[in-house]
Amino acid sequence: MSFEKNIRSEFVRILGKEWVKDDQVTLYTYRCDGLALYTAPPMGVLFPGTVQELSSVIKLLNQYKISFVARGAGTGLSGGAVPQEGSVIIEMARFKEVHEVDWVNRTITVGPGVINLHITENVHSHGYHYAPDPSSQKACTIGGNVAENSGGPHTLKYGVTVNHVLGIEMVLPDGELVTLGGKHLGMPGPDLLGLVTGSEGTFGIISKIICRLTPNPEKAVTLLGIYTSVRNACESVSSIIRHGIIPAAMEMLDKITISAVEKALKPGFPLDAEAVLIVELDGLADGLDAEAETVEKLLKETGATKVNRAQDEAERAKIWRARKEAFGAIGQISPSYYVQDGVIPRSKLPEVLDEITAIGKKHGLTVANVFHAGDGNLHPLILYDYENPEEVEKSHKIGEEILEDLIKFGGTLSGEHGIGIEKAEWMSDLYSETSLANMQNVRVFFNPENLLNPGKIFPHPGRCAESKAGTPPPNLSAVNKTKLVAAKSGIAV
C-alpha cells in the first residue's frame, strides 16, 4: 500500500520529494517500533521539518480522512508508533532544534525530535540536567517521552515526565495549533497538559516542548548491595523507605540479568549473587556520607552480604550503563525475550517476585528480573526461543499470568512503557466499562474522528464513545490477547 497519486503529489508539494516516502523498503522498516511483535506497514512516511509543514500535512490527512501516527526514534515498548490499519507515519526526527534555554525560569524549549540525553548535554556544564532518564535515553526522543509519560530510574526521587514538562505546543488532529501551559507553574482550569502527557500520541502531535531544568546534585553516592536472595534485596528497599530516606534511585537486578550484563558490559557484578541492588543517593554534599552510612547499615541489616560503593564517576557510569542496557544485554543469553511492565505497591515486592518465579517454573521457562525497585515498577523478562513454538506459547501464558497477578496484588498494567497495542485488551480487566467510556470521551474531545493513532490504549472494539460522537468505531485490526507473543517476529522486546 502506498499513497494515491494525487495525495502523494500534494504531500510532495508541502514537504518536497525527499521527505515523502512510500517505497516498499521504507514501509518495511517502519512497520514496527521497539516492540517488534506486532508489525503493520504504514501507507507512507512523512518527514515534516517545520510546524507549518506539520500542520499542513495534518490538515490534508484530515481532509482525506487518512489516519496517522507520530513517531520519534521508535524505541517505545508497547507499539505506540506502530501504524494500525495502514496509518501514515509522521516522523518527527527532524524537529531537533533547541529553541531556547532560559536560565532564570530554568527551562529549555526544544523540538520533539531532540534526544532525551541531548537535553541534559546541552545544559550540564551549567549545572543543570533534565531529570526523567528512561533507560533508552541515549536514543529516545523527548516527544515520545511526553506522549508516553516516560519514567526512568531517577524518577523515584524526581518524578516522571509529567512533573518536568511545563508547556507544549501541539497540532490537533484537524491541523489546529494549540499551546498548553508555558514557562510558568500552574494553570487555572483542568490540567490539559497533564492529560496530554501520557496520552500515547492519541490527542495531538507535539511540535515544541518546554522542559523544566533541574539543578545537578552537589554530590551523588552510588551503592551496590549484594545479596544471596531476592527477598532480602526487596526487604532492603522497604527498610530504606521506612526509614524516611528517598534515594535518587533504587534498582534491582537478579542473578540471570547479572549474568547477561556481565557478559555484555562487564560492570563487575558478582556472578554468584542472587541479586544486586543499586542505591543512589544524591543532594547536598554535607550529610550525604552520613546518609550513605545509614543506608549501608540498613542494607546489611536486611541481608546484604556486601555493600560496594562506586569510587569514582567512571565506576558509577559503569554500574548505570549495566542497568540501563540490561534489556538489550539479555540478547546475549537468550534468542528472544518478552518484557512485561507493571507496577505493584512497593510493600508487595517480595510476594509478587516469588509468584513470578513460580509462574516461570510452572511453565518451564526462565523469568529474569531487572526493575525500578523503589517504585515497585517491575520488568519481568520472559526468556524463550522464538523458533520453538511450544516456548512461544508458554511465554505468552506466563506474560498473562504475571499481569493477572499484578492486578491481583493491587497493581496496574504499565509503569512506564504504556498500553499501546500491546495491552489494550487488558484495559477491560482493570477498568469498568463506564471508566473506559469516560476515558474515551476525553479522547474524542481532542481526536473526534479517531484519525490520530487509532487502535491504541482501548480494547477493541471501541466501546461507546466514538459511537456517541457520531463516528462508528473503525474496524480495527484486532490485537488478540492470546497472541501476546507473535511466533513469527520473535524479536520480542
Binding site: 516516502k21 517505497d23 516498499q24 523498503v25 521504507t26 518495511y28 522498516t29 517502519y30 514496527c32 517500533d33 521497539g34 517488534a36 518527514f47 526514534a73 521508535g74 524505541t75 516522523e91 526526527a93 527532524r94 534526544i115 533508552s136 541515549k138 536514543a139 529516545c140 557478559k263 555484555a264 558490559l265 542496557e325 540490561a326 534489556f327 538489550g328 544485554a329 539479555i330 540478547g331 546475549q332 534468542p335 528472544s336 525475550y337 522464538y386 520473535g490 524479536i491 520480542a492 522486546v493
Partner: protein, 470 residues
C-alpha cells in the same frame, strides 16, 4: 516482491543467507539504542538508514521476506561500516560481520554498476594485489603532485570550474613516496637501538622479542613517515623488527565491499608471510588493517579451503602499535622525551575504537608523554566518512559525514586555540580529515600517533630520523 534471477541466482535469497551462518542476526532485539550512534542515520533521519533498520532488512533477507532488490541493497550500501553501533549495542550484535557477509552475498548474486565494476577490477582486484603496480601508481602520483597541479586546482579559480568531488580528491591525495617500504627492509632483522634495553619474553627460555611490522597496500608506498616512525619506535622500545617482504594488502577494503574471495587470498598470503611461530607480535599502525587482520576467521567458516589454518593463533598476535607500546610504560619512561607543552587533538579511528575495542590505551599513552595534553575531539568516536573507499563510491554522503567531523574539529579547536596538531591512527581517516580541514582552511597538522611520538623523542638512538611529511 519478486525474485531477482540475475546472474547466477538459482538458490533463493533465504537459502543464501542460511548458508552464511547468519544466526547472530537474532541477537538484535530492535531496541534502537544504536540509532544515535549512526552517522548515516543522523544525516538521513530514516529508519532504513539506521543500524536497526539495516539489521531488520538483513533479517528480512535471512527470513526470506525480502529479496535482493536494488531498493533493499541501497541502504545497505550506504552504511559506512564504521561499527559505532557495535559500541552502542547492549545485545552484542556483531553488526560488521553481518553486514560484510550480506555484502558478500550481494556482490556474488546481483549485477554491479559500471562505476563499481571499474573500481573493483582496477583498484581492488588489480592494483592492490601487485606491489610493483602500487609502486608505479605511487610514482605517477608523486610526479603529479610535483607538477603542482593539485595545488593549482585546489587553490585557484580552476577548482571552481571542475566538479566538486574531483577537487576534493586532490585534497585526499596521499603523499606518495614512489617506493615500497616492505621492499626497502624486506626480511632484514632490524635490531633494537639500545642493545642494553632489548626486550625479552617472560618465558622460561628467555629470547628477544621479535615483532613483524605490517605495511599494507597504500601505506606501503605512501606517507612513509608513518612506517618509518613505527619502526623507529619499536626499535627504541627494544624490539627486533622484521618487515616480511612477501606480505600484502590486508583485504579490508575488499571485505567491506563484499569481495570475500580476494580477501581470502590475501589472508592466506599474509598468514604465510607472518608465520605466527616466528613472531611475538604482529604490529599494525592502521586501525582498519588491524581490525581486518584480527577478523580473518570470519572469512573461513569451514574447516577447508584455508579454514583449517590456525587463524586465532595469528589474530591473537595482531596488535596496534600504540596498544603494544602502552604495555611497556617503564620503557616509555626510560626514554628521553621533549618536555615543552603541547596540546594535541585526538580523533579515535572507528576501526580501533569500535571494531578492535581499543580506546583507552592509546589515549593514556599519548597523555602520559611529558608536556603533552591530549584533547579528544568533540564526537571523537564519530566516523569521518572515509570508510575505506566509501568516500569514492558514496561521495555525497561521505562529505556530509566529513562536514560534521570538520565542524567538531573547529569547535574543539576554538576551545583549545593553542593546539597545532590532530592525531589519528588510521591512514584512511588521516587522508579524509586532512582533506576536510584543508578544504576548509583550518590550520592544523594531521599526524599519525607514531609520527607524533617520534617527534616528541628528544634523543634518537639512530641517525636515520624519518622525515615527517605533513
Amino acid at each position: 516482491m519478486s525474485i531477482n534471477f540475475s546472474k547466477k541466482t538459482v538458490v533463493s535469497t533465504k537459502e543464501l543467507f542460511r548458508q552464511a551462518e547468519f544466526d547472530n542476526i537474532l541477537k538484535c532485539v530492535h531496541c534502537g539504542l544504536c540509532l544515535e550512534s549512526c552517522p548515516t542515520y543522523r544525516e538521513l533521519e530514516d529508519e532504513k538508514d539506521s543500524p536497526r533498520g539495516r539489521l531488520y532488512l538483513m533479517r528480512g533477507l535471512w527470513e526470506g521476506e525480502l529479496e535482493l532488490e536494488q531498493s533493499v541493497i541501497d541502504p545497505l550500501s550506504r552504511c559506512l561500516d564504521c561499527r559505532a553501533c557495535e559500541s552502542a549495542c547492549p545485545s552484542g550484535v556483531p553488526y560488521g560481520e553481518l553486514l560484510e557477509k550480506t555484502r558478500g552475498i550481494i556482490l556474488e548474486n546481483t549485477p554491479q554498476s559500471l562505476k563499481e565494476r571499474v573500481l573493483r577490477n582496477l583498484l581492488l582486484k588489480g592494483l592492490f594485489r601487485y606491489t610493483s603496480m602500487m609502486i608505479v601508481a605511487s610514482r605517477i602520483l608523486k610526479i603529479y603532485a610535483a607538477t603542482g597541479l593539485p595545488k593549482l586546482i585546489t587553490k585557484t579559480f580552476i577548482g571552481k570550474l571542475l566538479p566538486k568531488s574531483f577537487v576534493f580528491q586532490q585534497h585526499l591525495l596521499p603523499n606518495c613516496s614512489g617506493e615500497s617500504f616492505k621492499r626497502k627492509y624486506a626480511d632484514q632483522i632490524l635490531s633494537p637501538v639500545f642493545p642494553e634495553k632489548t626486550l625479552h619474553t617472560t618465558k622460561i627460555k628467555k629470547s628477544k622479542i621479535r615483532v613483524g611490522l605490517f605495511s599494507g597496500c597504500i601505506m606501503d608506498v605512501s606517507e612513509s613517515a608513518i612506517h618509518e616512525s613505527t619502526l623507529t619506535l619499536l626499535r627504541h622500545f627494544g624490539c627486533e623488527v622484521v618487515v616480511p617482504g612477501n606480505q600484502g594488502c590486508c583485504g579490508a577494503l575488499h571485505v567491506h565491499s563484499g569481495d570475500r574471495k580476494t580477501a581470502r587470498e590475501f589472508a592466506l598470503k599474509n598468514l604465510a608471510a607472518f608465520e605466527p611461530r616466528h613472531f611475538d607480535a604482529i604490529i599494525t599502525n592502521a586501525a582498519g588493517c588491524g581490525a581486518q587482520l584480527k577478523e580473518y576467521h570470519h572469512l573461513f567458516p569451514d574447516e577447508t579451503n584455508g579454514g583449517e589454518q590456525d587463524w586465532i593463533g595469528f589474530e591473537n598476535k595482531v596488535i596496534d602499535i600504540l596498544e603494544f607500546l602502552s604495555r611497556f610504560p617503564e620503557l616509555l619512561e626510560s626514554l628521553s622525551w621533549r618536555e615543552d607543552q603541547d596540546i594535541v587533538l585526538y580523533d579515535a579511528p572507528c576501526h580501533l575504537m569500535h571494531a578492535q575495542k581499543v580506546d583507552e590505551n592509546p589515549r593514556q599513552l599519548l597523555n602520559s608523554l611529558p608536556g603533552v595534553k591530549l584533547v579528544p575531539l568533540k564526537e571523537s568516536s564519530w566516523c569521518c566518512g572515509s570508510a575505506g573507499i566509501y568516500n569514492l563510491v558514496q561521495p555525497d554522503l561521505s562529505r556530509d559525514v566529513l562536514k560534521r567531523k570538520t565542524e567538531s574539529v573547529r569547535q574543539t579547536l576554538t576551545e583549545n586555540p593553542k593546539a597545532k596538531t590532530i592525531i589519528t591512527g588510521n591512514p584512511g581517516c588521516l587522508y579524509q580529515i586532512r582533506a576536510g580541514i584543508r578544504s576548509e582552511n583550518i590550520d592544523l597538522r594531521v599526524l599519525h600517533p607514531a609520527v607524533y611520538l617520534v617527534e616528541r623523542l628528544k634523543i634518537l638512538g639512530t641517525s636515520d630520523i624519518p622525515k615527517i611529511a605533513i
